[in-house]
Protein backbone atom coordinates (compact mmCIF):
# COMPACT_ATOMS: atom_id res chain seq x y z
CA UNK A 1 0.00 0.00 0.00
CA UNK A 2 1.29 3.41 -0.91
CA UNK A 3 0.87 5.04 2.52
CA UNK A 4 2.27 2.11 4.51
CA UNK A 5 5.19 3.29 6.67
CA UNK A 6 5.76 6.38 4.53
CA UNK A 7 5.32 8.77 7.44
CA UNK A 8 5.89 8.91 11.19
CA UNK A 9 4.47 10.74 14.16
CA UNK A 10 7.58 12.62 15.25
CA UNK A 11 6.24 15.18 17.70
CA UNK A 12 3.52 15.40 20.34
CA UNK A 13 2.40 18.28 22.52
CA UNK A 14 -0.38 19.03 24.99
CA UNK A 15 -1.29 21.90 27.27
CA UNK A 16 -2.57 21.31 30.75
CA UNK A 17 -6.20 20.19 30.44
CA UNK A 18 -8.42 22.39 32.57
CA UNK A 19 -11.74 24.12 32.95
CA UNK A 20 -12.08 27.88 33.03
CA UNK A 21 -8.79 28.49 31.27
CA UNK A 22 -7.77 32.14 31.06
CA UNK A 23 -5.91 31.54 27.80
CA UNK A 24 -7.59 31.84 24.42
CA UNK A 25 -8.21 28.85 22.18
CA UNK A 26 -5.45 30.08 19.87
CA UNK A 27 -3.01 30.54 22.74
CA UNK A 28 -3.70 26.98 23.86
CA UNK A 29 -3.33 25.72 20.31
CA UNK A 30 -0.02 27.57 19.83
CA UNK A 31 1.33 26.29 23.14
CA UNK A 32 0.59 22.68 22.21
CA UNK A 33 1.94 23.21 18.69
CA UNK A 34 5.27 24.64 19.87
CA UNK A 35 5.65 21.73 22.28
CA UNK A 36 5.02 19.23 19.48
CA UNK A 37 7.46 21.00 17.15
CA UNK A 38 10.18 21.02 19.83
CA UNK A 39 9.43 17.39 20.68
CA UNK A 40 10.12 16.51 17.04
CA UNK A 41 13.40 18.41 17.13
CA UNK A 42 12.12 20.94 14.62
CA UNK A 43 11.78 24.71 14.48
CA UNK A 44 8.43 26.39 13.80
CA UNK A 45 9.58 27.52 10.35
CA UNK A 46 10.31 23.88 9.40
CA UNK A 47 6.59 23.16 9.28
CA UNK A 48 5.46 22.98 5.65
CA UNK A 49 2.00 21.53 6.15
CA UNK A 50 -0.76 22.34 8.62
CA UNK A 51 -4.15 20.86 9.36
CA UNK A 52 -6.03 22.89 11.97
CA UNK A 53 -8.64 20.64 13.53
CA UNK A 54 -12.12 22.08 13.48
CA UNK A 55 -10.98 25.66 12.85
CA UNK A 56 -12.37 26.88 16.12
CA UNK A 57 -9.10 28.70 16.76
CA UNK A 58 -6.15 29.29 14.42
CA UNK A 59 -6.26 29.00 10.63
CA UNK A 60 -3.39 27.90 8.39
CA UNK A 61 -2.68 31.58 7.71
CA UNK A 62 -2.35 32.24 11.44
CA UNK A 63 0.38 29.62 11.64
CA UNK A 64 2.27 31.05 8.66
CA UNK A 65 2.18 34.48 10.25
CA UNK A 66 3.00 33.52 13.84
CA UNK A 67 5.62 30.89 13.04
CA UNK A 68 7.21 32.78 10.17
CA UNK A 69 6.74 29.77 7.90
CA UNK A 70 8.41 30.78 4.63
CA UNK A 71 6.80 28.19 2.36
CA UNK A 72 3.71 26.36 3.57
CA UNK A 73 3.08 23.77 0.88
CA UNK A 74 0.02 21.96 2.20
CA UNK A 75 -3.03 22.75 4.29
CA UNK A 76 -6.40 21.07 4.67
CA UNK A 77 -9.64 21.33 6.57
CA UNK A 78 -11.40 18.16 7.63
CA UNK A 79 -15.00 18.81 8.68
CA UNK A 80 -15.79 15.56 10.48
CA UNK A 81 -15.78 16.45 14.16
CA UNK A 82 -14.00 13.94 16.34
CA UNK A 83 -13.00 11.85 13.36
CA UNK A 84 -10.94 14.76 12.05
CA UNK A 85 -7.65 14.13 13.92
CA UNK A 86 -7.29 10.57 12.63
CA UNK A 87 -8.54 11.61 9.20
CA UNK A 88 -5.84 14.29 9.38
CA UNK A 89 -3.25 11.53 9.88
CA UNK A 90 -4.51 10.07 6.61
CA UNK A 91 -4.37 13.43 4.84
CA UNK A 92 -0.88 14.13 6.19
CA UNK A 93 0.35 10.65 5.24
CA UNK A 94 -1.06 11.07 1.73
CA UNK A 95 0.46 14.52 1.27
CA UNK A 96 3.84 13.31 2.51
CA UNK A 97 3.79 10.11 0.44
CA UNK A 98 2.95 12.23 -2.59
CA UNK A 99 5.99 14.42 -2.00
CA UNK A 100 3.93 17.52 -1.32
CA UNK A 101 5.48 18.34 2.06
CA UNK A 102 7.63 16.86 4.82
CA UNK A 103 6.39 18.01 8.23
CA UNK A 104 2.67 18.42 8.85
CA UNK A 105 1.38 20.05 12.03
CA UNK A 106 -2.03 18.72 13.17
CA UNK A 107 -3.26 21.05 15.87
CA UNK A 108 -6.27 21.79 18.03
CA UNK A 109 -7.13 24.26 20.74
CA UNK A 110 -10.30 25.38 22.38
CA UNK A 111 -11.52 27.32 25.32
CA UNK A 112 -15.11 26.32 25.92
CA UNK A 113 -15.24 28.41 29.08
CA UNK A 114 -14.56 31.61 27.16
CA UNK A 115 -17.15 31.02 24.45
CA UNK A 116 -20.05 33.41 24.59
CA UNK A 117 -23.41 32.43 25.99
CA UNK A 118 -24.53 28.85 26.44
CA UNK A 119 -21.54 27.01 25.04
CA UNK A 120 -22.46 23.43 25.80
CA UNK A 121 -22.69 20.75 23.17
CA UNK A 122 -26.42 21.03 22.72
CA UNK A 123 -26.19 24.68 21.85
CA UNK A 124 -23.32 24.33 19.42
CA UNK A 125 -23.89 21.57 16.94
CA UNK A 126 -26.91 23.04 15.24
CA UNK A 127 -24.69 25.87 14.03
CA UNK A 128 -22.52 23.42 12.05
CA UNK A 129 -23.48 22.87 8.39
CA UNK A 130 -23.09 19.08 8.52
CA UNK A 131 -25.87 18.96 11.10
CA UNK A 132 -28.43 20.78 8.97
CA UNK A 133 -30.97 17.96 9.10
CA UNK A 134 -30.73 17.84 12.87
CA UNK A 135 -31.02 21.61 13.01
CA UNK A 136 -34.15 21.69 10.87
CA UNK A 137 -36.06 18.56 11.90
CA UNK A 138 -34.82 17.42 15.32
CA UNK A 139 -33.34 20.29 17.31
CA UNK A 140 -36.67 22.21 17.48
CA UNK A 141 -38.30 19.14 19.09
CA UNK A 142 -35.60 18.81 21.72
CA UNK A 143 -33.17 16.40 20.07
CA UNK A 144 -30.36 18.89 20.34
CA UNK A 145 -27.20 17.32 21.72
CA UNK A 146 -25.06 14.35 20.73
CA UNK A 147 -26.25 12.47 23.82
CA UNK A 148 -29.85 12.77 22.63
CA UNK A 149 -29.00 11.91 19.03
CA UNK A 150 -26.86 8.86 19.83
CA UNK A 151 -29.09 7.50 22.58
CA UNK A 152 -31.49 5.76 20.14
CA UNK A 153 -28.49 3.92 18.65
CA UNK A 154 -27.50 2.67 22.08
CA UNK A 155 -31.06 1.78 23.07
CA UNK A 156 -31.55 -0.30 19.94
CA UNK A 157 -28.22 -2.05 20.53
CA UNK A 158 -29.33 -2.90 24.07
CA UNK A 159 -32.67 -4.22 22.86
CA UNK A 160 -31.26 -6.27 19.97
CA UNK A 161 -28.15 -7.68 21.63
CA UNK A 162 -28.68 -7.50 25.36
CA UNK A 163 -26.02 -4.85 25.97
CA UNK A 164 -26.35 -3.60 29.54
CA UNK A 165 -25.71 -0.63 31.79
CA UNK A 166 -22.83 -2.63 33.33
CA UNK A 167 -21.19 -2.95 29.92
CA UNK A 168 -21.26 0.82 29.54
CA UNK A 169 -19.92 1.12 33.08
CA UNK A 170 -16.95 -1.09 32.30
CA UNK A 171 -15.79 1.47 29.74
CA UNK A 172 -16.24 4.37 32.14
CA UNK A 173 -14.40 2.62 34.98
CA UNK A 174 -11.44 1.57 32.81
CA UNK A 175 -11.01 5.12 31.47
CA UNK A 176 -11.17 6.58 34.95
CA UNK A 177 -8.56 4.14 36.29
CA UNK A 178 -6.22 5.18 33.53
CA UNK A 179 -6.89 8.90 33.95
CA UNK A 180 -5.81 8.65 37.57
CA UNK A 181 -2.41 7.40 36.36
CA UNK A 182 -2.02 10.13 33.76
CA UNK A 183 -1.07 13.27 35.65
CA UNK A 184 -2.81 15.59 33.16
CA UNK A 185 -6.42 14.48 33.47
CA UNK A 186 -9.48 16.37 34.66
CA UNK A 187 -11.06 13.45 36.49
CA UNK A 188 -8.95 11.96 39.26
CA UNK A 189 -11.48 10.40 41.67
CA UNK A 190 -11.88 6.62 41.36
CA UNK A 191 -15.31 5.34 40.28
CA UNK A 192 -17.02 1.96 40.48
CA UNK A 193 -19.69 0.28 38.39
CA UNK A 194 -22.14 1.29 41.11
CA UNK A 195 -21.06 4.93 40.85
CA UNK A 196 -21.66 4.73 37.12
CA UNK A 197 -25.12 3.25 37.53
CA UNK A 198 -26.01 5.80 40.19
CA UNK A 199 -24.94 8.83 38.15
CA UNK A 200 -27.81 10.98 36.94
CA UNK A 201 -29.58 10.18 33.71
CA UNK A 202 -28.78 12.56 30.83
CA UNK A 203 -30.47 10.95 27.82
CA UNK A 204 -31.62 7.41 28.52
CA UNK A 205 -29.66 5.10 28.37
CA UNK A 206 -26.78 7.56 28.82
CA UNK A 207 -25.96 8.59 32.36
CA UNK A 208 -23.57 11.35 33.30
CA UNK A 209 -20.65 8.92 33.53
CA UNK A 210 -21.37 7.67 30.00
CA UNK A 211 -20.73 11.15 28.60
CA UNK A 212 -17.41 12.73 27.68
CA UNK A 213 -16.09 15.87 29.32
CA UNK A 214 -16.23 19.48 28.23
CA UNK A 215 -12.79 20.96 28.73
CA UNK A 216 -10.28 23.62 27.73
CA UNK A 217 -6.92 22.81 26.25
CA UNK A 218 -4.74 22.26 23.24
CA UNK A 219 -3.07 19.25 21.62
CA UNK A 220 -0.84 18.90 18.58
CA UNK A 221 1.19 16.33 16.70
CA UNK A 222 3.76 16.44 13.92
CA UNK A 223 3.63 13.92 11.07
CA UNK A 224 6.92 13.75 9.15
CA UNK A 225 8.26 12.01 6.10
CA UNK A 226 9.62 8.64 7.31
CA UNK A 227 13.12 9.36 5.97
CA UNK A 228 13.25 12.80 7.56
CA UNK A 229 12.00 11.23 10.81
CA UNK A 230 15.39 9.56 11.21
CA UNK A 231 16.64 12.99 12.32
CA UNK A 232 13.91 13.40 14.93
CA UNK A 233 14.52 13.27 18.67
CA UNK A 234 12.57 10.09 19.31
CA UNK A 235 12.46 6.62 17.83
CA UNK A 236 10.29 6.46 14.77
CA UNK A 237 6.59 5.74 15.24
CA UNK A 238 5.23 4.71 11.84
CA UNK A 239 1.79 5.26 10.41
CA UNK A 240 1.46 1.68 9.20
CA UNK A 241 -2.19 1.78 8.28
CA UNK A 242 -4.80 4.52 8.16
CA UNK A 243 -8.29 4.74 6.69
CA UNK A 244 -11.53 6.72 6.95
CA UNK A 245 -15.13 5.74 6.43
CA UNK A 246 -18.58 7.27 6.57
CA UNK A 247 -21.87 5.71 7.56
CA UNK A 248 -24.79 5.66 5.18
CA UNK A 249 -26.95 8.75 5.70
CA UNK A 250 -24.10 10.55 7.47
CA UNK A 251 -26.16 13.65 8.17
CA UNK A 252 -29.04 11.90 9.91
CA UNK A 253 -29.00 8.98 12.30
CA UNK A 254 -32.79 8.85 12.11
CA UNK A 255 -32.72 8.07 8.39
CA UNK A 256 -29.81 5.57 8.54
CA UNK A 257 -30.91 2.11 7.42
CA UNK A 258 -28.97 0.53 10.29
CA UNK A 259 -28.74 3.11 13.04
CA UNK A 260 -26.17 1.07 14.95
CA UNK A 261 -23.65 1.00 12.08
CA UNK A 262 -20.69 3.38 11.96
CA UNK A 263 -18.30 4.61 9.29
CA UNK A 264 -15.38 2.85 10.93
CA UNK A 265 -16.82 -0.50 9.78
CA UNK A 266 -15.87 0.46 6.22
CA UNK A 267 -12.47 1.85 7.21
CA UNK A 268 -11.17 -0.90 9.50
CA UNK A 269 -10.47 -3.61 6.90
CA UNK A 270 -8.53 -1.07 4.82
CA UNK A 271 -6.37 0.04 7.74
CA UNK A 272 -5.59 -3.49 8.93
CA UNK A 273 -4.75 -4.64 5.39
CA UNK A 274 -2.50 -1.62 4.84
CA UNK A 275 -0.65 -2.21 8.10
CA UNK A 276 -0.38 -5.95 7.55
CA UNK A 277 -1.43 -6.73 11.11
CA UNK A 278 -4.37 -8.56 12.64
CA UNK A 279 -6.51 -7.74 15.65
CA UNK A 280 -4.44 -10.02 17.85
CA UNK A 281 -1.38 -7.89 17.14
CA UNK A 282 -2.92 -4.76 18.69
CA UNK A 283 -1.38 -4.29 22.15
CA UNK A 284 -2.95 -0.96 23.04
CA UNK A 285 -6.00 0.91 21.68
CA UNK A 286 -7.05 4.53 22.03
CA UNK A 287 -10.72 4.45 21.02
CA UNK A 288 -12.75 7.63 20.58
CA UNK A 289 -15.01 7.73 23.59
CA UNK A 290 -17.53 10.52 23.18
CA UNK A 291 -19.84 8.05 24.96
CA UNK A 292 -19.13 4.69 26.57
CA UNK A 293 -21.41 3.02 24.04
CA UNK A 294 -19.33 4.40 21.16
CA UNK A 295 -16.31 2.43 22.39
CA UNK A 296 -18.29 -0.81 22.50
CA UNK A 297 -19.73 -0.26 19.05
CA UNK A 298 -16.39 0.66 17.45
CA UNK A 299 -14.79 -2.47 18.95
CA UNK A 300 -17.47 -4.48 17.15
CA UNK A 301 -17.29 -2.56 13.88
CA UNK A 302 -13.49 -2.85 13.77
CA UNK A 303 -13.86 -6.62 14.05
CA UNK A 304 -12.41 -7.27 17.50
CA UNK A 305 -15.62 -9.20 18.11
CA UNK A 306 -18.88 -9.88 16.33
CA UNK A 307 -21.73 -7.37 16.24
CA UNK A 308 -23.60 -7.53 19.50
CA UNK A 309 -20.68 -9.01 21.43
CA UNK A 310 -19.05 -5.70 22.34
CA UNK A 311 -20.67 -5.64 25.78
CA UNK A 312 -19.29 -9.00 26.87
CA UNK A 313 -15.98 -8.10 25.16
CA UNK A 314 -15.40 -5.15 27.51
CA UNK A 315 -16.61 -6.98 30.63
CA UNK A 316 -14.44 -8.11 33.50
CA UNK A 317 -11.99 -5.24 33.15
CA UNK A 318 -10.77 -6.30 29.73
CA UNK A 319 -10.09 -2.68 28.72
CA UNK A 320 -7.86 -2.07 31.73
CA UNK A 321 -4.08 -2.06 31.60
CA UNK A 322 -3.81 -5.73 32.50
CA UNK A 323 -6.77 -6.71 30.31
CA UNK A 324 -6.96 -8.24 26.87
CA UNK A 325 -7.16 -4.89 25.07
CA UNK A 326 -5.79 -2.01 27.18
CA UNK A 327 -7.86 0.94 26.00
CA UNK A 328 -7.70 4.69 26.53
CA UNK A 329 -4.60 4.47 28.66
CA UNK A 330 -4.75 8.25 29.20
CA UNK A 331 -8.35 8.29 30.41
CA UNK A 332 -9.88 9.28 27.10
CA UNK A 333 -12.52 11.92 26.48
CA UNK A 334 -14.47 10.41 29.35
CA UNK A 335 -11.89 11.11 32.04
CA UNK A 336 -8.81 12.91 30.69
CA UNK A 337 -10.10 15.75 28.49
CA UNK A 338 -12.07 16.43 25.31
CA UNK A 339 -9.80 17.77 22.59
CA UNK A 340 -11.64 15.98 19.78
CA UNK A 341 -9.46 12.88 20.24
CA UNK A 342 -6.13 14.42 19.34
CA UNK A 343 -5.15 13.40 22.87
CA UNK A 344 -5.72 9.79 21.75
CA UNK A 345 -3.07 10.16 19.02
CA UNK A 346 -0.71 11.80 21.50
CA UNK A 347 -1.21 8.97 23.99
CA UNK A 348 -0.72 6.17 21.46
CA UNK A 349 2.55 7.79 20.35
CA UNK A 350 3.64 8.05 23.96
CA UNK A 351 2.82 4.38 24.58
CA UNK A 352 4.74 3.21 21.52
CA UNK A 353 7.75 5.29 22.54
CA UNK A 354 7.65 3.60 25.92
CA UNK A 355 6.89 6.92 27.61
CA UNK A 356 3.51 5.88 29.03
CA UNK A 357 4.62 6.28 32.63
CA UNK A 358 2.43 4.57 35.19
CA UNK A 359 -0.03 3.63 32.41
CA UNK A 360 2.58 2.09 30.12
CA UNK A 361 1.52 -1.12 28.39
CA UNK A 362 4.64 -3.29 28.63
CA UNK A 363 6.69 -3.39 25.44
CA UNK A 364 3.91 -1.87 23.31
CA UNK A 365 4.98 -2.03 19.67
CA UNK A 366 1.67 -2.01 17.77
CA UNK A 367 -1.31 0.13 18.65
CA UNK A 368 -4.48 1.56 17.23
CA UNK A 369 -6.25 4.90 17.49
CA UNK A 370 -9.75 5.74 16.29
CA UNK A 371 -11.76 8.85 15.60
CA UNK A 372 -15.53 9.19 15.65
CA UNK A 373 -17.10 12.34 14.38
CA UNK A 374 -20.44 14.05 14.04
CA UNK A 375 -23.12 11.40 13.54
CA UNK A 376 -20.88 8.39 12.93
CA UNK A 377 -17.99 9.32 10.62
CA UNK A 378 -15.03 7.14 11.49
CA UNK A 379 -11.32 6.72 11.05
CA UNK A 380 -8.59 4.54 12.47
CA UNK A 381 -4.82 4.42 12.31
CA UNK A 382 -2.46 1.63 13.25
CA UNK A 383 0.87 2.91 14.49
CA UNK A 384 3.96 0.80 15.03
CA UNK A 385 7.25 1.38 16.74
CA UNK A 386 10.44 0.94 14.78
Amino acid sequence: MRLYNRSCVTGIGETAYTRKSTRSAFQLQIEASLKAIADAGLKPADIDGVIPIGVISGTADDFIENFGIPDLRFSALIPHGGASPVMALQAAAAAIAGGVCQHVLITFGRNISAMAGNNRAGSRIHTMPQFHYVTEFEHPMGASAPAQLYAPMARRHMELYGTTVEHFGEVAVACREHAILNGNALMTRPITLDDHRASRMIADPFRLLDCSLESDGGAAIIVSDADRARDARHRRIFIAGVAAGHPDSPGSITQRADITSLGIAKAAPRAFAMAGVTHGDIQVAEIYDCFTYAVIRQIEDMGFCARGEGGPFVSGGRLKLDGALPTNTHGGLLSQAHVWGLNHVVELTRQLRGDGGAAQVPNAKVGLVTGYGDLGDGALAILTRE
Binding site: H126, T135, P140, S144, A151, R155, R156, R200, S252
Partner: protein, 133 residues
Protein backbone atom coordinates in the same frame (compact mmCIF):
# COMPACT_ATOMS: atom_id res chain seq x y z
CA UNK B 1 -48.87 23.62 31.70
CA UNK B 2 -45.39 25.09 31.54
CA UNK B 3 -44.12 28.57 30.98
CA UNK B 4 -41.18 28.71 28.64
CA UNK B 5 -39.09 31.78 29.24
CA UNK B 6 -36.73 30.91 26.41
CA UNK B 7 -38.36 30.22 23.03
CA UNK B 8 -37.91 26.90 21.28
CA UNK B 9 -35.37 26.73 18.45
CA UNK B 10 -37.11 27.95 15.31
CA UNK B 11 -38.13 25.63 12.53
CA UNK B 12 -36.53 27.30 9.54
CA UNK B 13 -37.53 25.75 6.25
CA UNK B 14 -35.50 25.82 3.08
CA UNK B 15 -36.58 25.93 -0.56
CA UNK B 16 -36.27 22.14 -0.53
CA UNK B 17 -38.31 21.54 2.59
CA UNK B 18 -40.96 24.28 2.38
CA UNK B 19 -43.74 21.97 1.14
CA UNK B 20 -43.06 19.64 4.08
CA UNK B 21 -43.50 22.37 6.68
CA UNK B 22 -46.48 23.96 4.97
CA UNK B 23 -48.26 20.60 5.02
CA UNK B 24 -47.13 19.87 8.57
CA UNK B 25 -48.88 23.02 9.77
CA UNK B 26 -52.02 21.57 8.18
CA UNK B 27 -51.48 18.24 9.94
CA UNK B 28 -50.21 16.32 6.94
CA UNK B 29 -46.90 14.41 6.75
CA UNK B 30 -45.35 14.68 3.29
CA UNK B 31 -42.42 12.71 1.89
CA UNK B 32 -40.46 13.47 -1.24
CA UNK B 33 -41.04 11.03 -4.10
CA UNK B 34 -38.78 10.90 -7.15
CA UNK B 35 -40.82 11.73 -10.23
CA UNK B 36 -38.65 9.44 -12.37
CA UNK B 37 -38.09 6.26 -10.35
CA UNK B 38 -40.78 6.77 -7.68
CA UNK B 39 -38.32 6.21 -4.79
CA UNK B 40 -39.40 7.87 -1.54
CA UNK B 41 -36.95 9.91 0.51
CA UNK B 42 -36.83 11.82 3.77
CA UNK B 43 -35.43 14.17 5.05
CA UNK B 44 -35.79 16.39 1.97
CA UNK B 45 -32.76 16.53 -0.28
CA UNK B 46 -31.91 17.79 -3.73
CA UNK B 47 -31.30 14.56 -5.65
CA UNK B 48 -32.76 11.11 -5.80
CA UNK B 49 -29.77 8.96 -4.81
CA UNK B 50 -30.95 6.19 -7.15
CA UNK B 51 -31.48 8.03 -10.43
CA UNK B 52 -30.09 11.50 -9.57
CA UNK B 53 -33.15 13.36 -10.73
CA UNK B 54 -34.10 16.63 -9.08
CA UNK B 55 -37.76 16.18 -10.00
CA UNK B 56 -39.96 15.40 -7.04
CA UNK B 57 -43.59 15.14 -6.18
CA UNK B 58 -44.75 15.17 -2.57
CA UNK B 59 -46.66 12.17 -1.30
CA UNK B 60 -48.74 12.21 1.84
CA UNK B 61 -47.71 9.51 4.32
CA UNK B 62 -50.06 7.57 6.58
CA UNK B 63 -48.26 8.72 9.73
CA UNK B 64 -48.40 5.08 10.79
CA UNK B 65 -45.39 2.96 11.59
CA UNK B 66 -43.46 1.01 14.20
CA UNK B 67 -41.06 2.01 16.94
CA UNK B 68 -37.44 1.67 15.81
CA UNK B 69 -35.82 3.13 18.92
CA UNK B 70 -36.30 5.81 21.57
CA UNK B 71 -34.70 7.90 24.29
CA UNK B 72 -35.86 9.89 27.27
CA UNK B 73 -34.28 13.32 27.54
CA UNK B 74 -33.58 14.11 31.19
CA UNK B 75 -31.02 16.89 30.82
CA UNK B 76 -32.17 20.01 28.95
CA UNK B 77 -29.32 20.81 26.58
CA UNK B 78 -31.26 23.82 25.32
CA UNK B 79 -32.81 26.15 27.91
CA UNK B 80 -36.19 26.18 26.19
CA UNK B 81 -36.72 22.56 27.24
CA UNK B 82 -35.90 23.02 30.92
CA UNK B 83 -39.53 22.93 32.00
CA UNK B 84 -40.36 19.93 29.79
CA UNK B 85 -37.80 17.32 30.89
CA UNK B 86 -38.12 14.43 31.10
CA UNK B 87 -39.62 13.94 27.65
CA UNK B 88 -39.43 10.98 25.30
CA UNK B 89 -38.26 11.02 21.70
CA UNK B 90 -39.16 8.14 19.42
CA UNK B 91 -37.63 7.00 16.12
CA UNK B 92 -40.33 5.49 13.91
CA UNK B 93 -40.16 3.27 10.82
CA UNK B 94 -42.95 4.77 8.75
CA UNK B 95 -45.10 2.35 6.76
CA UNK B 96 -43.86 4.03 3.60
CA UNK B 97 -40.21 3.20 4.36
CA UNK B 98 -38.42 6.37 5.53
CA UNK B 99 -38.18 7.19 9.23
CA UNK B 100 -39.39 10.02 11.36
CA UNK B 101 -38.29 11.33 14.73
CA UNK B 102 -41.01 12.60 17.00
CA UNK B 103 -42.12 13.24 20.52
CA UNK B 104 -43.79 10.32 22.29
CA UNK B 105 -46.88 10.29 24.45
CA UNK B 106 -47.54 7.19 26.54
CA UNK B 107 -45.80 4.46 28.47
CA UNK B 108 -42.20 3.49 27.65
CA UNK B 109 -42.13 2.61 23.94
CA UNK B 110 -41.36 -0.94 22.85
CA UNK B 111 -39.37 -1.73 19.72
CA UNK B 112 -41.70 -2.85 16.97
CA UNK B 113 -44.76 -1.35 18.65
CA UNK B 114 -47.32 0.02 16.17
CA UNK B 115 -47.75 3.78 16.41
CA UNK B 116 -49.57 6.65 14.76
CA UNK B 117 -48.43 10.23 14.55
CA UNK B 118 -49.95 13.70 14.33
CA UNK B 119 -48.66 17.25 14.22
CA UNK B 120 -49.21 19.44 17.26
CA UNK B 121 -48.71 23.20 17.26
CA UNK B 122 -46.00 24.34 19.63
CA UNK B 123 -44.69 27.87 19.95
CA UNK B 124 -44.15 29.10 16.41
CA UNK B 125 -43.76 25.57 15.02
CA UNK B 126 -45.24 22.09 14.97
CA UNK B 127 -44.13 18.89 16.70
CA UNK B 128 -44.58 15.47 15.19
CA UNK B 129 -46.06 13.49 18.07
CA UNK B 130 -46.50 9.71 18.12
CA UNK B 131 -48.57 7.46 20.32
CA UNK B 132 -49.72 3.85 20.44
CA UNK B 133 -51.81 2.96 17.37
Amino acid sequence: MTTESVPRPLQVSTDLSRPYWEAAREGRLLLQQCSICQALRHYPRLLCSHCHSEDVTWREASRRGQVHSWTVAHHPFHPSFSAEVPYTLVTVDLEEGPRALGRWIGDTPVLGQRVVGRFERRDAGVDLVFEKA
